[in-house]
Symmetry: C2
Subunit: 276 residues, 2 copies
């Protein structure tokens, strides 16, 4: 079995056309890596899911109840990707939700494709996208289903040999990549953009930030300008599935996979191997 979908716990690949996830992108999602049947950073994912649902005022939803649904489909060897969508539920036409509404869960379980693993060791090519991220502090940080900006940005990469696109905020500062958070290293210090106006606050981003600080690497979470990015010693991207992808080409600029990147990558590999 390579792919399973569950809707509210039942094995099916169909949902109601009245689901507000379809109508308005009215929901959130999480993407979790499973290694040999262990869900990596599970607590952090469930906490962010709860926080995201609360930020959108989606009705109480027991995130813990997802686990027994997923468990039977986890493989004791190999890597899988568990994507969980939670929508506000079924509604009639109109943005205002009905007074009583029950959130819906959709779970996708699939094998992790091995072709992307090489990017962690080889590094990737990236370019800066023209599509920028709008400032919406009420949605910033959460992994909601309104993702047209990322789609427009990725369309810009068609016909290039880039694996990722870097997205700027409305004013032109660096925010993140379409599917990853972004870090840069300069003179042994780590910098990652502030996400209070836009962007997704990744689980791996938080982990890397905390772990680097524990290792005595200064970390600055602040506004990052394009000029800083272009003068960085190292740049890397992070997410829960890919871990760390170093950038080895950004436009015409070549970059080395440096010491700080390697140190952090070693830790991420450790975590995956020890199923922490």
């Amino acid at each position: 079995m390579t792919s399973v979908t569950l809707v509210n716990g039942g094995l099916t690949d169909q949902i109601s056309v009245y689901d507000r996830g379809l109508a308005y992108g009215d929901g959130v999602f999480e993407t979790i890596l499973s290694v040999d049947g262990q869900l990596i950073f599970l607590d952090q994912h469930l906490k962010r899911l709860t926080r995201s649902l609360s930020q959108l005022k989606i009705s109480p939803f027991d995130v813990e109840a997802l686990l027994p649904l997923i468990q039977p489909y986890l493989k004791s060897t190999g890597q899988q990707i568990i994507k969980i969508i939670v929508t506000r539920g079924i509604g009639e036409r109109g943005y205002a939700p009905p007074e009583t509404i029950q959130a819906h869960s959709i779970v996708f379980i699939s094998d992790k494709v091995k072709t992307t693993v090489a990017w962690a060791t080889k590094g990737i090519k990236a370019q800066i996208c023209a599509t920028r991220l709008a400032y919406q502090p009420k949605l910033a940080g959460i992994k909601h289903l309104n993702r047209l900006e990322q789609i427009l940005a990725l369309q810009e990469l068609a016909g290039t040999d880039c694996q990722e696109g870097i997205m700027l905020g409305y004013e032109g500062e660096v925010i993140e990549a379409t599917m990853h958070n972004l870090f840069l290293v300069k003179n042994g210090e780590l910098f990652t953009p502030d996400l209070s106006e836009c962007g997704v606050a990744g689980i791996m981003r938080t982990f890397i930030t905390e772990y680097a600080q524990q290792q005595g690497i200064p970390v600055s979470v602040s506004r990052v300008e394009v000029a800083q990015l272009m003068e960085a010693d190292e740049i890397f991207l992070t997410n829960s599935i890919n871990g760390i992808w170093p950038i080895c080409e950004l436009g015409n600029t070549r970059l080395e996979i440096g010491e700080v990147t390697c140190l952090l990558q070693d830790k991420v590999v450790d975590i995956v191997n020890s199923h922490d």
Copy 2:
């Protein structure tokens, strides 16, 4: 029959969980009024649908082919609402669409509920929402499926007796209401906000703008400040389903349903009655 749903022309109320409309809000929609079996402003809706699909680079989709699907369910007397969603289609996990993908259509046909008709004659209460519209010129104007901002704004009205909420842009200027465009009248002139950074360019908004100009009423499409709104002689909201809703209370400010609003309402009623 009060409600019918069609997915790619087939009678069903289920869609695939892999539809990118659900995953990312990757699609657009139109809401068309049918009166005695005639689709009002049909050409304008189909043109906007085509333009919106093209803006998102959704694969060629024959909007005209929707009509024979809808036709059998139109009633020869009474008003119906036809909502059409077109999504990019089915995709695997990941923001980047597959190379070959076929757009999906979902059509909802339902009777128009009479309870909202009174608001056109009585006028409505509105308030200004705290949730603002982010600036995203690449999505401005089109009726896409990323609608969390409108949902957050409408949640603010819970527990109030307001029928609509007015949304400001990121910098605090007036843009539109959650489900309607906005016009104000001052000294016989009509003003409606510029939508180049955010907002939905409504079919009724375009019609009202053009018709008012034909009637010799000066129309300004430009930045509108909250102070201008609070000092307006008349304010009204427009959309394809409700026509014109005058605002008679905005926060603590009471407003009359004035001459210009009535003149324009008469024309909209004419159009609906003559099935133009």
